[in-house]
Amino acid sequence: MSEPVALKLTAKDFKSDQEVRWCPGCGDYAILAAIQQFMPELNIPRERTVFVSGIGCSSRFPYYMNTYGMHSIHGRAPAIATGLSVSRPDLSVWVVTGDGDALSIGGNHLIHALRRNVNLKILLFNNRIYGLTKGQYSPTSEVGKVTKSTPAGSADAPFNPLSLALGAEASFVGRTIDSDRKHLQSVLRAAAEHQGSAFVEIYQNCNIFNDGAFDQLKDPTTRDDYLIRLEHGQPITFGAEGQFCVVHPPGGFGLEVRETSSVRPEEVVVHDTTVADPAYAFALSRLPGLDLRNTPIGVFRSVDRPSYDSVVQSQLAAAKAKVTETPEQQLAGLLASGDTWTII
């Protein structure tokens, strides 16, 4: 392909004429604005960009993007997007989903899209609650969560979305936060550049049914001590004074947080998104405690693996390369294959 022409698109070009109807104060507004501002950077024509969603508050997203889009049914967006992506490799296909949509009703499609490594960018808006159905607990709600459907507290253990994605062999996994536009866009940028499935969890505040779920990660007085900002090639240290770090204790399976002053500098883990073994990124995904301390954000994992789309397309290309006849001639040959006989 020749060098792409600069399209000179702006955020405004990606705003549809539809009135945005999320609750005032919803974290979705910030994500929408961040994405609309970010899309021009990709220099992909609007007509070649498609947003596919399921059901839920987050899934209204496609209506507000002036691209192609489909608001489908609960949990099925990864399946629908797979059919679109694999049959149309020229498109940039994004899936917008939520914690209920992706991890409950659509859990199967999510893990299989990641396993296949379909060329989809999957944005999971995680607010740890069912919003559109007015406040039931979700598969990411904490144990004991009191909601309309769990007056005595939720008895379910929650999913850790990143651990799940990594267990499903996701080739790209990242996490970001609705309120940090710069960081959000940096993770989206890396996701967009990735060939294959890119799974991005976005912590999103539902100010109506689960307000403040991620406040510790946003409050200027706590966030630096709670957040681990992952950067490829950099030692993993965090805290307002860099007072914490991540180490791999000998004999252990996972990673642990220590006080930086208590370890030798060479013991601090240097973040590497390209580690082939998903155990490393999985260990990172297990660091946060129930109180959200030690929450890594950024790109956890980004490894090269052939995408499903590319394998399917190369099989098609190989089969078509041998063809010398017109489709009609090929069809006539196919119909007459096997044992035939002629009656005169």
Binding site: H71, S72, I73, A79, S87, R88, K320, T342
Partner: protein, 615 residues
Amino acid sequence: MTKQIRQLDRVVIRFAGDSGDGMQLTGDRFTSETAQLGNDISTLPNFPAEIRAPAGTLPGVSSFQVHFADYDILTPGDAPNVLVAMNPAALKANLADLPRGADIIVNTDEFTKRNLAKVGYQVSPLDDDSLAGYVLHPVALTSMTVGALAAHDVSKKDAERSKNMFALGLLSWMYSRPYESTLRFLERKFAARPELVAANVAAFRAGWNFGETTEDFAVRYEVKPAKMKPGTYRNITGNAALSLGLVAAGVRSGLPVFLGAYPITPASDILHELSKHKRFGVITMQAEDEIAAVGAALGASYGGSLGVTTTSGPGVALKSETISLAVALELPLVIVDVQRAGPSTGMPTKTEQADLNMALYGRHGEAPVAVIAPRSPSDCFFAALEAARIALTYRTPVILLSDNYVANGSEPWLLPDVESLPDLRVEFTTEPNGEDGTTFLPYLRDPETLARPWAIPGTAGLEHRIGGLEKADKTGDISYDPANHDFMVRTRAARIETIPVPDIEVEDPDGDARVLVLGWGSTYGPIGAACRGLRQRGLSIAQAHLRHLAPMPANLAEVLRSYDRVVIPEMNLGQLAHVIRARYLVDAISYNQVRGLPFTATELETTLEEVLKNV
């Protein structure tokens, strides 16, 4: 010795054995030889759902019936003239279907004390007089095969496994079949193991030569070629024809075919077949579940492919929500339901027509779709093309109701000329359709077809969003307006109801029939054979067969009213009859069987005769 040669006009042979005995393959090869000779043919495989049920037991019996004749036939035959029974279980399971006087060829080597006990024979039926009413041919099939292969470099096990080729050789001799195609087939099948080609060919020849030399088979039969339309033929099953029809739909529409499917009996063969045709641009995806299969197909349709999903009843139930989405999105989608006996897992390898209600009504909300059903194995090809035509032209899901009987049955197929197949080309919308010349209205309909524009991603200037929420007429914007919803619901209904479909044709050669038999789908053959039988006996009866179940042909009301009685035989408890009664206020007689087997022509003939007597 010189053998007597007797001419027959038709023969029904049933090959029966253990599921590991290779009866399907034997039947298939005999069918192919018979096709080469030019007889008309109809076949019916009957096998258990278990891949290898315990050897020698009744549940493990697998059979293949082939009916061939020197005239055109409509069914695989009610009762076999010849039963090949490879073991006691095969004899016991099939004996009740045999008329007195039928030939029975048994493999005596398998009639051991142990095998007899497995199926409850105290005394071998070969030794008492229980088979006195039949012409019994005891043949030591296994030991003669092993003996014939003594000089071959194959294991005893492989030698024993060649006994089906011995049986095929014997039957091929008995009915004077040309066997070159079988020899070619064996060379292809065992190309990697030449010693097995030699062994199987030797077993086949041993069987043939045994027929020629033994005194037990004094008569050899001939069935002359049938008078068939000139042209090139092949024998084809319904699933194979349906697969080719989908490939043809891709070629004739110029669109890539995308099949999303999850393995399910008896539809999986369509997935297998289509996965071979990548050179036509066909993409097949074995999805993680039935829901993903239809979802991916719908996603591909959204992107400009012909999206198809293939399944059986339980799968359609799972796909229901997505089919409703396709109704709302107004995108083309072909859903193939190869029906099997239900509910639930039911009898997965047995046939039934009990998904009609689900196809017509099995969705939430007012969610009409088009429904069509093929009448015979080769008709599956044309039904697939018709389903694609409706889906593409009217931007709607179409459910194609095949069933296990037509899917696995086979018949000769006069190959169509590709150029004569319908032109399915579609035009994607590429320009704004609003009056201002710049706006795109995704739900502005073609006044004739009521279809909305199909503007696929990648088309600059037509970026738009669609979804499951109710849409405003024309703009497609989200709308909760009561009047708009009422309008859209009625429009979606009208969109299906006004699809022009061919008038139903009535076969009434005498012209004075007072009773009409109305059928749909795979019952065409047995109903047709029953009507022929009645007419041959001087009775008048009319036959009409529905291909389009939604919408129904415009002339159907008039046809139904032209007869004193309407009889509707179905392999369900009266689902079409219910529709006919409700829609046309016709007091139709419902005749039903749900035994997992097709109707026999004889039983239908008897039933219809009763009706005729009482008109």
